[in-house]
């Protein structure tokens, strides 16, 4: 074998290798090409052996030819391997494909009741304003529900709230609380000012469950007692709450009213969240939506818990959570909150 013959053998072998690779349809076939054309029994070995007999002047060129051959064939093998591997991976993916649009396995998540959601949102706003949260029993004594709150027996204001009584104690002594206000008394009894507390909870009235009434509903009430608290502080606090809860364009309006446990007393409304005050059917074209009542804690209430009204002053406010939810989410039927229709619960 001389140099020319060696080069011809390599050229032929490269062409054969490339041709075989082109038809190799598996990684095993490519491995076979590698063994045949690069391995120990390949032309690489035989030409290398033959070079030893060449003129010393021809040896470098022969070496270069072998190098070129190896590079070309190894490159072609690698390229073929890559392309086959990609194909096989793609085939496996096809084989294992799933339809994910079938959706999840296992039970769906449930839903918190809308009133719970409203309560949490309100609590969080007031916690941000520095309030704590307090609770109390739903069955109360006349003292906590009425008398300590400056509703003397026989007072006409008692008739404002149709009360349900229970068969404990003396007649009409133990009752289902008609508002969350008895918790004010309990908080003041248990603690000393400063008090910044809200009191959410379930309350009861002697009403039939229908579109507008329920014997059971939920209120949230706020109480602040500290030195130097003013009516202006009450208005400012409700304003701050209103903006935080409904947004900066919503403000509060106050009109004089009457509650036995506050003096002065007021009703508060907020800018209609639907028309932003321009007047619509929701707000009966007034631009305002009435939310709740508020006022400065009556000195008689302070006296009933042993506070000195000359030392501390305070304010209280409260409103219904069903009403809040009705306004915000357009629930037109109070009964919907207590039917627990899963189609209602799922909406929130």
């Amino acid at each position: 074998m001389n140099l020319e013959e060696a080069k011809a053998i390599l050229t032929q072998a490269q062409a054969d290798a490339e041709a075989t690779l082109a038809t190799a349809d598996s990684l095993a076939a490519v491995d076979e090409v590698e063994r045949t054309y690069i391995g120990k029994k390949s032309v690489v070995t035989s030409v290398n052996e033959a070079i030893k007999g060449f003129d010393s002047a021809d040896r470098p060129e022969a070496g270069k030819a072998i190098g070129a051959y190896r590079a070309a064939v190894i490159g072609a093998i690698a390229a073929r391997r890559d392309s086959l591997a990609v194909g096989e991976a793609a085939e496996r993916i096809e084989r294992e494909r799933l339809d994910l649009t079938l959706g999840a396995r296992g039970p769906e998540r449930g839903h918190l009741h809308l009133i719970t959601q409203v309560q949490r949102e309100l609590e969080d706003v007031f916690v941000g304003l520095g309030f704590q949260v307090a609770e109390g029993p739903e069955v109360e004594t006349d003292w906590y529900n009425f008398e300590a709150l400056n509703f003397p027996p026989g007072h006409p204001a008692r008739a404002m709230q149709d009360t349900l009584y229970v068969d404990l104690g003396e007649q009409e002594q133990v009752l289902l609380r008609t508002h969350t206000s008895p918790v004010q008394i309990r908080v003041m009894e248990q603690r000393t000012p400063p008090i910044y507390t809200i009191m959410p909870g379930r309350v009861y009235r002697r009403d039939t469950l229908d579109a507008r009434h329920s014997p059971v509903f939920h209120q949230i009430e706020g109480l602040v007692v500290d030195e130097g608290i003013t009516l202006g502080d009450l208005f400012g606090t409700i304003d701050a709450f209103t903006r935080a809860y409904f947004g900066p364009s919503i403000t509060a309006r106050f009109l004089p009213s009457f509650f036995p446990f506050t003096e002065p007393s007021a009703e508060f409304s907020v800018t209609c969240i639907f028309c932003e005050g321009s007047g619509c059917t929701v707000c009966s074209r007034t631009g305002w939506i009435e939310l709740g009542g508020c006022g400065m804690v009556d000195p008689n209430v302070f006296r009933s818990v042993g506070y000195d009204p000359e030392q501390v002053s305070g304010f209280a406010f409260g409103f219904g959570m069903e009403r809040m939810a009705q306004i915000r989410f357009g629930v037109d039927h109070v009964k919907a909150f207590f039917d627990d229709d899963i189609r209602f619960l799922r909406q929130f």
Binding site: G110, L129, Q132, E138, L164, F258, D341
Partner: protein, 793 residues
């Protein structure tokens, strides 16, 4: 309280702007619930006189009517049966508008042109009568605008008066507030003075506590209708005109807030009056024809013979009622104790315009003025002649209270910076006279028509009201030293609800009031439960002793809507009768869960009926969320749940509730057939239970060795007991053990099953040797076979 604007204007010259007055009333705390303007939509309708009536050439039921309306004559086609020559009618000509925005134009009816129409009550929006056209008062002048003629150019404010403002239950009281607000003069016309007449009506107050003041006088009257303007005002104010005498007493009641009562003098035995408490069981037939049984708390106005003639301040009796044949009356005007009237009115369920005022407290010093005003009107409109001088029994006159108002206190409560003079100026128009009391205070003399004002704080409220709440600067409390937040229990209650939501349960709110048959299947007897004494309905008469009975109602409601497969939970208070002498019930916070119907597995797995293990998963969601340290289940029985499929949930060694399958009887009450699985736990107890320590221990870096063991167990042996044995026997190297298979077969035999456990051993310090693991395995097998008569499979 319905207040016509024209009537208020008798006492103060208010502007025409109804919207501004509405706004003022609201800002005064006299909440406007509605404003009626009956004439607002009527335009161009005038009074007309019918000149002649001709038949219609082409229709039997129609007539051609010639009318004259002051400035002209015309002809209209009319179908009304009552149209007649000489009649005064309401004529709407071309261009007139009627309620509903309907505008008239000439139209041809059966070939005859009709120039407008004659109106019925309904067409003017004044009533429902459409049987014929309106037959107007013959005294009216043709051409007069109908709104003026009928007093329709008025506005009626429907006010919601809070119980502290008896004075605002009168036209005069409303006028006083409005005059103050607008800075207008306020002129409550005094009643006229009258000849004393001869003699007196004998009056005796037996109970001065119930009746601090009583006045009476006798008059001769001529019964008949009240004048139109008075009837109209009464109608606008919501009262039905009856006769001049009765209407005048009602008119004064509305105008002055002073209820009056007129007795027929000839039907009043002895002609005098006596005020006393009723005897227990005494009866009276009231004006409405109802026989009323009385108690010793009720106050009566009796005749001289002591026979009851009226329930004081509430309602008159039938016996001496003024009727068509009445010629002489005894006019009563009194001040009764508010509490007495309130109790009687409430107990009898009898509320009248009169009781509504007395129970809030009328002006004891305005009684005579009210009576005088009535006499003035009786003289004018009922041909009355005063027969006797007035008898005024007022043994202990009620004097206006004097209250010191500190200017500094006003500002400290309101957050204002008013001067004493400003405070005085704000109070004066309300009738509160202020006497100087140094530079920083004033002594307010509070008129007795404002019984709500007794204290300094009450006057501060009046200052705020007069100032306008919008004028109060809005500030925030200045003390920064208060930190907001939820208590641990409040935060964890949220966590529990969130965990259940994550476990697929939706939150329900059921009424806490139940029907007795719903709680009975759960074993609650009347001795355990708290019952309402005045329930509105039997369905809501028992306070729930547990949440589950009501929650099943929600399951049933959903099933009835075609949604049988629901997972619901509710947290809330439950009530049991207190032990010992405690007044209030044993009130706890519970959580209940119900999972009903089918658990959907599709499309990935098969659907299956819910079973108790679904309920346990929900319970675990709670106990895991709370990281409870010691929770176990133990077979148990409790009413309402399937005795073979119920476990007590034991936390820290104490039963905190049950989980299981709801029994058929409890389901049947709701018309459910099942399956429904449920749990009810004492949430308060869970929140108070021991938690897993939060302490770091490094995870082992050494490999674990697994050992699987299957035992054949008698059904009476709970799997939990075997788990406990394994944990003890396996020692410290046991990392985890769980049950991975349960099966039964004929080969195992009846009442036996195979339970397979997967144990995993691992040391924190080294790789375990086969010998160590083998030793532990043997110890486990020995312990279980010995303790539970089990066989290793």
């Amino acid at each position: 309280m319905r207040a016509p604007l024209s009537w208020i204007r008798d006492f103060t010259p208010l502007p025409d702007d109804v919207a501004a007055i509405t706004d003022a009333l609201n800002h005064l705390g006299l909440e406007v619930e509605g404003v009626e303007e009956p004439g607002a939509e009527i335009n161009g309708v005038v009074v007309a006189r019918v000149l002649e009536v001709h038949p219609h050439p082409d229709a039997d039921k129609l007539r051609l009517v010639d009318i004259e309306f002051g400035v002209g004559e015309t002809r209209v086609v009319c179908g009304a049966p009552n149209v007649a020559a000489g009649m005064l009618v309401a004529y709407a000509g071309s261009g007139a508008t009627l309620p509903g925005g309907f505008m008239l134009e000439p139209r041809t009816i059966r070939g005859v042109v009709s120039d407008g129409m004659l109106c019925s009550t309904r067409e003017l929006g004044l009533g429902d009568d459409h049987g014929g056209i309106m037959d107007l008062d013959a005294a009216l002048e043709p051409g007069t605008d109908i709104c003026e003629a009928l007093g329709l150019d008025d506005a009626v404010f429907e006010l919601s008066i809070t119980p502290n403002r008896p004075d605002a239950m009168s036209i005069v009281g409303i006028a006083r507030d409005l005059a103050a607000h607008f800075g207008l003069p306020f002129t409550p016309t005094p009643g006229a003075e009258f000849d004393a007449g001869d003699g007196a009506v004998p009056v005796e107050i037996v109970d001065a506590e119930g009746c601090p003041r009583f006045t009476a006088r006798a008059l001769s009257v001529r019964l008949g209708p009240a004048p139109d303007w008075m009837q109209r005002r009464l109608t606008l104010a919501g009262m039905r005109p009856i006769s001049n005498v009765v209407d005048i007493t009602n008119y004064v009641l509305l105008e002055r807030g002073q209820p009056l009562h007129a007795f027929d003098r000839h039907r009043l035995p002895g002609g005098g009056l006596r005020v006393r408490r009723a005897g227990e069981g005494e009866t009276i037939e009231t004006l409405d024809g109802v026989e009323r049984a009385l108690t010793a708390a009720d106050l009566l106005v009796c005749g001289t013979d002591d026979v009851p003639q009226a329930i004081a301040g509430v309602m008159g009796g039938a016996a001496a009622e003024v009727g068509d044949d009445t010629t002489e009356i005894v006019l009563e005007a009194a001040y009764f104790d508010p509490m007495t009237i309130s109790r009687t009115s409430k107990r009898l369920g009898l509320r009248s315009e009169s009781s509504a005022r007395f129970e809030r407290g009328i002006d004891p010093n305005g009684v005579l003025a009210g009576s005088d005003r009535a006499v003035e009107l009786l003289v004018e409109h009922a041909d009355a002649r005063v027969l006797t001088g007035v008898v005024d029994a007022y043994p202990t006159p009620i004097v206006p209270p004097r209250v010191t108002v500190r200017t500094d206190r006003v500002n400290r409560i309101l957050g204002t910076s008013l001067g004493t003079a400003e405070v005085v100026a704000l109070l004066a128009p309300l009738g509160v006279e202020c006497e100087a009391d140094g530079p920083d205070a004033t002594t307010a003399v509070v008129p007795t028509f404002r019984p709500d004002i007794e204290r300094e704080i009450d006057l501060i409220e009046e200052v705020a009201r007069r100032l306008g709440l919008d004028a109060i600067p809005r500030t925030l409390p200045s003390n920064p030293d208060h930190v907001g937040g939820l208590t641990a229990a409040q935060a964890q209650r949220r966590l529990v609800a969130d965990a259940l939501v994550g476990a697929g349960c939706s939150e329900a709110y059921t009424l806490s009031l139940l029907a007795e048959p719903l709680v009975a299947p759960f074993g609650y007897a009347a001795v355990d439960t708290v019952t309402l004494t005045n329930p509105l309905r039997a369905e809501e008469s028992v306070l729930r002793p547990a949440v589950l009975p009501g929650l099943l109602g929600a399951v049933a409601f959903n099933a009835a809507q075609g949604n049988a497969d629901v997972a619901l939970f509710e947290t809330g208070h439950v009530f049991r009768r207190p032990v010992d002498a405690v007044l209030q019930p044993d009130e706890r916070d519970h959580v209940a869960i119900t999972i009903a119907g089918t658990r959907a597995g599709r499309p990935h797995e098969a659907d299956r009926p819910v079973d108790v293990y679904d309920a346990i998963r929900a319970v675990d969601a709670i106990t895991d969320a709370l990281r409870l340290a010691d929770v176990r289940l133990e077979a148990a029985a409790t009413p309402g749940l399937h005795a073979g499929r119920t476990a007590a949930v034991i936390v820290d060694g104490t039963v905190v509730g049950h989980v299981g399958e709801v029994d058929r009887d409890a389901l049947a009450v709701h018309g459910l057939t099942g399956p429904v699985v449920a749990a009810e736990l004492d949430l308060g107890a869970l929140l108070g239970a021991t938690r897993l320590a939060r302490r770091y221990s490094p995870p082992s870096r050494f490999p674990a060795s697994g050992v699987d063991l299957a035992f054949v167990l008698d059904d009476a042996v709970p799997a939990a007991a075997v788990l406990a044995t394994l944990r003890t026997a396996a020692g410290d190297l046991l990392e985890d053990v769980r049950i991975f298979d349960v099966f039964r077969s004929e080969a195992l035999g009846e009442g036996r099953r195979s339970v397979a456990f997967a144990l995993r051993f691992r040391s924190p310090e080294r790789t375990l040797t086969d010998a160590e693991v083998g030793e532990a395995r043997t110890a486990c097998i020995d312990a279980v076979t010995r303790a539970h008569a089990a066989e290793l499979r």
